[in-house]
Chain length 148, copies 2
DNA sequence: CAGTATCCCTCAAGATACTG
DNA sequence: CAGTATCTTGAGGGATACTG
């Protein structure tokens, strides 16, 4: 039995997002999905998570509209979990997490996996918030406008 | 007693990052810090978190080099928690979380807080991964290069 | 005000066995 | 292979009282 996904009523999008995907496994599942993983056992092997937990998270991600469950086209019995449009829209988030980790959590020269632009073979450039004119936006140039 | 921050040995930056800041409160603390919150009781009021938990998270964020603890310049006894350089570097991550939440977790027309560019008063533009030439990079244009 | 020290409790997570 | 069912454990989190 799954608890209903409450999609919290928080007016802050950050709070609402973290309450949905801010747990130990969801974003790692999404990362693997971007990496081409589709099958239950492949997620399980990749993550080393207990099967019941994986089952629960996959269901929640499907309920949240981030993953879709579709029959394998190979005729086998199993299903495949693929990113929906909302799931693909998490690409900037996973990338931001990855790039911050690369910059701040590895010693200089320490090896880590890396996101590559397939066509050129070069690492994906740092993603930064920008203005319309292309200049980089710093935290101090912004403020949060709260609800009326 | 704080458990030592193990800074996990995972070779994947996403995994390492989530293991450090992927809990229920850390990113919300960071969000508040970007919003100008500096004092213990202000974090507490804003988040509604138990004081012992807040104390623990602030210490972990300080240990991780994301926040720095400095004496208030007003001569009062209390300290202030401010973002370090590594903390400020989380701006793209918090923004990605916010923008995904705005796009996917609110009904059309549902009110939410919003990040504004102070100078213009306009909402911050969507942050997207781009190539050097400025074109938008899609998930399928990339792949993860694993460790040797 | 800014925390620390306890106590308690729920739920996430793991292990294992089982089913279609 | 792809899950579900059940049991157990422990960490995360809340409430409250206390201290400098």
């Amino acid at each position: 039995m799954t608890k209903p996904v409450p999609t919290s009523n928080e007016p802050c999008p950050v709070a609402r997002a973290t309450s949905l995907i801010g747990d130990r496994w969801s974003l790692l599942i999404v990362r693997d999905a971007f990496d081409g993983v589709r099958r239950f056992s492949d997620f399980q092997r990749s993550l080393g998570v207990a099967k019941n937990i994986l089952s629960d998270r996959l269901r929640k991600l499907v309920d949240a509209g981030i993953l879709a469950c579709q029959a394998s086209r190979e005729g086998s019995a199993y299903q495949e979990y693929v990113l929906t449009e909302a799931g693909n829209d998490l690409f900037p988030l996973v990338l931001a997490l990855r790039q911050w980790g690369e910059r701040q959590l590895f010693s200089p020269g320490e090896a880590h996996s890396e996101l590559i632009e397939t066509a050129s073979g070069k690492p994906v450039a740092a993603m930064l918030p920008r203005r319309q004119d292309g200049s980089v936006l710093m935290p101090h140039d912004t403020r949060v406008r709260k609800l009326p």
